[in-house]
Amino acid sequence: METLAQEIGIPEEEYREISKRLDREPNRVELFLFKVMWSEHCAYKNSRPLLKQLPKEGEAVLQGPGENAGVVRIGEGWAVAFKIESHNHPSAVEPFQGAATGVGGIIRDIMSMGARPIALLDSLRFGPLEDARSRYLLKGVVSGIAHYGNAIGVPTVGGDLYFHEGYRENPLVNAMCLGLLREEHLRRSRASLGRPIYYAGAKTGRDGIGGAAFASRELSEDKEEDRPAVQVGDPFLGKLLMEATLEAIEKDLVEGVQDMGAAGLTSSLSELAHKSGLGVELDLDRVPTRERDMGPIELLLSESQERMVLVPREGRERELEEVFKKWGLDCVPVAKTIPEKVFRVLFRGEVVAEVPTEALAEAPTYVRLGREDPEIRKLRETPLPPLAADPKEVLPRLLASPNLASREAVYERYDHQVGTRTALLPGKGDAAVLWVKGTHLGVAAKVDQNPRYSRLHPRLGAMHALAEACRNVSVVGAKPLAYTDGLNLGSPETPEGYFELQETIAGLREASEALGVPVVSGNVSLYNESGGRRIPPTAMVGVVGVLDIRRRAEMGFRRPGEVILLLGEEKGELGGSEVLYLLTGLEAGHPPRLDLERERRVQEAIRELIGLGLTRTAHDLAEGGLLVALAEMTFPYGLGATVEVRTPGLKALFGEAPSRILFTVAKENLKEATFRLEEMGLPYRVLGETGGNSLTVLTPEGVLEWGVEELRAAWQKPLREVLDG
């Protein structure tokens, strides 16, 4: 058995630990159970001790980390369940199905909580857009997301997308889903003693066997032989499963719900039992299959999609079966809870595995020694060359750089309105806004992360990610309530990789404490590296906030003659900036400093101005700095502006810095708006006025002017060319 353990990649010390916990050697089936349950993907062996440091408590929190998704209260008895999850490795192998099944998986997580999925956001990272393989992956992933999301009828309302050398070999595909529920419909992964456990949905095949373990390994060179059968998503069946599950919850037929995701039956049943403080006996002969002669290991490890685990309330079994029958789906008891805290598996009438649930669920954790990569430190401390360029040319070039260019060609592929809740369409605001129909409540969501900042300074990069996502949510008028984090990093087994993991989590903690926004769910994807090249540490932070739907702000200038103000200072930094990369090809320097206290107050201020109805147009300053942000505000309605910048140099025009927001007020409201800002002691400047069809900027060095349409054309071209071709 020890030889087999070695062959399937279980380290020697873990094999000894398994034998110790069982008080005997594991058999073949049991060994595979440990293999998948103790994979990084399922067990968080390296990240768990670090993740413990994150603040998880908050007034709005109904359910923190540890369930299928986190849940926050938003008022009037409504709550929102949300979570982000990675599907990086499957997407690298087969981008279309990888992305599609990633979307399907996160949707099932949300409905497991008793919530109706109402919105999807996607956080995507690829290698340079010039690279043919990156373009192939981008197209496949976008098509896969569209295929699944559009058909199942959950709108894709936002996300973020970056191209960076560091993702050339290891693209990232993370999907975030939000669901809406009444507080009383909240369900968890729980079962009481002696209850039958039902298997519902699609039949089991040999799809993605060992996928969870696969996800926790470096992509190997011999992809062809090495990979498991590709999982195919079926949004049609997914839709039926979603409706049937939600109907069962609404009719109060089930006490517990769990989705079947990574590591299939093994993970869903053993975790359900463990969380319930019970054991479970699974009879594999009852599992609906679509392929012949499946062995116990295949049945246990299959990652066939569109499957759920349901625990009926006592006496409601028949009704539950009826609901699923109406939707044309299998729904059969395959297991039952038992008092002995073991995961017992029967196959052809014999016990083929029996292990303590705790032994499976509580994998050993590792605390390692991290050390910063000296190369990264060198880059950060590189003195930056002086920048010289004609700003007139820089702006259109910046707008056409792949990281800043219009995402319209992407989001046009997604149905972003199905469900009639989308109050702020993609491209219209800094965050998506969903309306809770029948109320004045709105839910805002945004996912953010900047790979350049994070690569140069993992801790500060993570802080920026959370601060920016909160800022974007605030800029539409919503109060951030909580976040979900999708941590994507390299191998923790190198000191440099572990350091980046440590620093990323430390940064999230710092920002989370200062901004008062706790984490409620998340996902960790490690080993994103090939040939010793790690991806930039990538903490994709998805923030959810709540607002009064009647008081929301868009980003586009709408009415001529409004005053444009800058909340924050007219200064930017060049370290890690897009303009530095554009003009010198360098990704170096110290990323912009972040004063979290200032950040918190700036966000409060803009929420107050929106809440008072003083502004309906606001936009965060991000990559590309002041002029890029202004140009972006002219695009939605084609309305121009004239502004004055007093500080000389490219730094003021294109440099980057957090805690800054552009907004407009009607002239009659200027006094009150500025009075409020002075009262809060926040710096601001009146920059100019909206109007016309050009963007005119008066600088100490002269007047700059661009036609809005000319800038828009440059901004739209790059992704249109790739995706429409």
Binding site: E94, R206, A229, V230
Partner: protein, 84 residues
């Protein structure tokens, strides 16, 4: 150069889930046709020049390799004929 017509059949590999086939199967059953299973594939008819039948076969197979997604599909050269 003579023209050949190749008929390429692209199917999902055995064991790969075929949602389309499954949905069609369900409807056929609902409408009273007792069927055991349905798999949906694609048929491509490609007309191209080649000197000999042997060369045409090589070319057709090369195209099949190109057009089928090896991760999840297989192709069969169903027919190959010289066009008059």
């Amino acid at each position: 150069m003579p023209k050949y017509q190749a008929t390429l059949l692209i199917e999902l590999k055995e064991g790969i889930l075929d949602p389309q086939g499954r949905a069609v199967e369900g409807v056929l059953k609902d409408l009273g046709h007792p069927v055991d299973s349905v798999r949906v594939g694609k048929v491509l008819e490609v007309v191209f020049p080649a000197e000999t039948l042997l060369e045409a076969e090589e070319k057709a197979k090369a195209m099949g390799n190109l057009l089928a997604n090896p991760v999840m599909e297989v192709f069969t050269l169903e027919a190959l004929k010289e066009l008059p």
